[in-house]
């Protein structure tokens, strides 16, 4: 019989209230991230899937690995999967990148009304236009990478992006008048 010290048999993890606190601290950021990129119902689905994955990781004792960056990474993965399925394009997982920075708009620029107008405007776009606009203008992905991720030609991305910009401006100006 092997007599060396036994490795821990049980995967230990914090109790449910630790996960509850983690959820309470982060649900708003995850939902906001998802809501900016997909519609309301889809944002709820994405948020739910992300936190279920986090719960499993917690239950496996991997809570140290779980951070807001991890949550956003999973959310981004889910969202790209949705875009890929909707557009019958194959996104490349390695192109999924962590959130690069916090909000970069000038502090005096923000107000709820303006944000709601932006959100309502992107909600009106087609999923294709929305995804291109978000990937390029919000997430900062170069056109070449978008073309590779969505298996489109460079020129197809450029022209679709131009149409997406026009559609967004039209919707946004309508709401700002």
């Amino acid at each position: 019989v092997n007599t060396r010290p036994l490795a821990p048999i049980v995967t230990r993890h914090p109790p449910a209230d630790a996960f509850a606190a983690f959820y309470d601290s982060n649900v708003r950021d995850v939902y906001s991230f998802a809501r900016a990129r997909v519609g309301g119902d889809d944002a709820e689905d994405v948020t739910s899937e992300v936190f279920h994955a986090a719960a499993i990781a917690f239950k496996h004792g991997r809570e140290e690995e779980i951070s807001i960056a991890w949550l956003i990474g999973v959310a981004r993965n889910k969202i790209i999967d949705r875009w890929r399925k909707a557009q019958r394009h194959k996104a490349k997982a390695h192109l999924l990148r962590p959130r690069e920075s916090d909000v970069a708009v000038p502090p005096d620029w923000y107000d709820d009304e303006r944000r709601d107008a932006v959100l309502a405007s992107v909600d009106q776009l087609s999923e294709r236009h929305r995804s291109l606009l978000i990937l390029h203008h919000l997430d900062g992905m170069p056109i070449a990478e978008i073309a590779e991720a969505l298996e489109m030609s460079h020129s197809a991305v450029e022209s679709a992006l131009a149409r997406a910009r026009r559609a967004f401006r039209t919707e946004y100006e309508k709401r700002r008048q």
């Binding site: 092997n2 049980v10 993890h13 449910a16 649900v27 239950k59 203008h137 919000l138």
Partner: protein, 208 residues
């Protein structure tokens, strides 16, 4: 890139209120999974991914002493029976499973890593996860009969099998991220093995 061209879009990164009904419902749903999957022990911690038949493993040192005593007893009986058999007929070689046989059985039964990889073919992946789980359970049973695999490694193999079971269930529920998280956990358990090497390459399984 061109964030300056469309600064309005950066507003989307400002936090937005989560619909309270959704937030509370999801919170309750998530916490209920802790209740159903877990069993509190004396330290107040939670234990996931254990089937009823696995739970004796959590009982701590008493269980291991009993298990160790059981192994010694079985080994003693086995040795005695072996001696009796050999004294009766020296020409008969007892056919015993060894690690090579156990590993060969495992390698033949389980899929390669490429089959388990992220793919749209969820049915195929679900089947692969199930085959890997069954293969690991069989390997664990086989190795448990030998005395060259540590108890720690046997428990890691059982944990891997439990995680694969969870991964398959998640996939059936459509929770792909959960399935992948559980699969990663299972592979991490295999990577942590010390007295036996079990891994999956892109094209085949490895077991030594």
């Amino acid at each position: 890139v061109s964030n300056d061209e469309f600064p309005e879009l950066r507003l989307l990164d400002h936090p937005i209120e989560v619909p309270p009904e959704f937030r509370d419902r999801l919170r309750g749903e998530l916490l209920s999974t802790f209740d159903s999957d877990s069993v509190s022990d004396a330290g107040g911690t939670l234990v996931p991914l254990r089937r009823v038949e696995d739970r004796p493993l959590r009982r701590g040192s008493t269980f291991y002493w009993r298990a160790a005593a059981g192994v010694i007893l079985i080994a003693t009986i086995g040795a005695a029976l072996g001696l009796i058999a050999r004294s009766g007929d020296d020409g008969d070689q007892p056919v015993a499973i060894d690690r090579a046989v156990a590993c060969q059985r495992f390698v033949e039964a389980v899929p390669s890593l490429s089959t388990l990889d992220r793919s749209d073919q969820t049915v195929e992946r679900s089947d692969a996860i199930d085959r890997l789980r069954a293969g690991i359970e069989q390997l664990t049973d086989d190795l448990a009969r030998l005395d060259d695999t540590s108890a720690g490694d046997l428990s890691r193999l059982r944990a891997a099998a439990g995680a694969l079971r969870e991964s398959g269930l998640d996939l059936e529920r459509g929770d792909e991220a959960g399935s992948i998280a559980a699969l990663d956990f299972a592979l991490a358990q295999l990577a942590a093995l010390e007295t036996v090497e079990v891994s999956l390459s892109e094209t085949s399984a490895v077991c030594h």
